[in-house]
């Protein structure tokens, strides 16, 4: 069974969770033997921006020690041989240039998404 995880929602509880929970789930599923790839679309395309920096989040004396490292988490998927596709128009709409992004992404246009879906048994839209 081959699955394409489509990730669209971004920065939802990423500070509380110290990650994006669907990127995390993708890592966990891969470790459990899943055959899956990822398509980043909509605001989730911002996850591959190298310059993301959560700075220092603190509430009173309680300081966050392990903030989210979203670009690294996506790079980690690529390192595990998960194909990470990203919608070109969504990058362009958000003013993102290639040199701002991590390496190893596979750009796909909106028009090509339907053909991409043919390669998968299931499309899980998160």
């Amino acid at each position: 069974m081959k699955v394409l995880n489509v990730i669209a929602t971004a920065y939802r509880a990423t500070l509380e969770e110290q990650d994006d929970t669907v990127l995390w789930l993708t890592h966990a599923l891969k470790s459990a033997g899943a055959d899956l790839d990822v398509l980043l679309r909509a605001n989730a395309v911002n996850y591959v921006v190298k310059a993301q920096d959560i700075g220092r989040l603190a509430f009173g004396e309680r300081v966050q020690k392990q903030g989210p490292r979203l670009a690294e988490d996506v790079a980690g998927l690529i390192a595990k041989e998960i194909d990470v596709y990203i919608v070109a128009e969504d990058l362009a709409d958000r003013g993102l240039a290639t040199d701002e992004l991590i390496d190893g992404l596979k750009e796909v246009s909106r028009d090509d998404i339907t053909a991409l879906f043919d390669d998968y048994d299931h499309i899980w839209h998160w």
Partner: protein
């Protein structure tokens, strides 16, 4: 070709990416696939004649079977007789039917 079930729970009044989901449905149909766009929750709002309903009718003209959850329609006071061209009311059972059939299913 393959069957697709696209479930749209959001409406184009509050969400600006609903049109992309409509486009996806239309493009999948134009590629020769059997496609159902099942509207549920606020996703049924543009099924009542409004500024966004032509987009739904266009999806239907592209060959997509556009269905609106009867329960969601009732909940919002949208009469079945008032549905725009190309949209039909249906029970949520259709979603379970098509899941059981093995269609590639996506929820938006």
């Amino acid at each position: 070709m393959v069957g697709y079930l696209l479930i749209e729970s959001r409406d184009p009044f509050d969400w600006n990416d609903v049109s992309q989901f409509y486009d996806l449905a239309a493009n999948l149909a134009k590629s020769g696939n059997q496609v159902t766009l099942f509207l549920v929750q606020n996703g049924v709002l543009p099924a009542r004649k409004c500024v966004h309903s032509e987009a739904l009718s266009a999806v239907a003209r592209a060959g997509v079977d556009v269905l609106a959850d009867e329960f969601s329609l009732d909940e919002r006071g949208i009469a079945i007789g008032a549905l725009v061209t190309g949209v039909s009311a249906a029970a949520l059972d259709v979603v379970v039917d098509q899941l059981a059939e093995g269609r590639k299913a996506m929820w938006h």
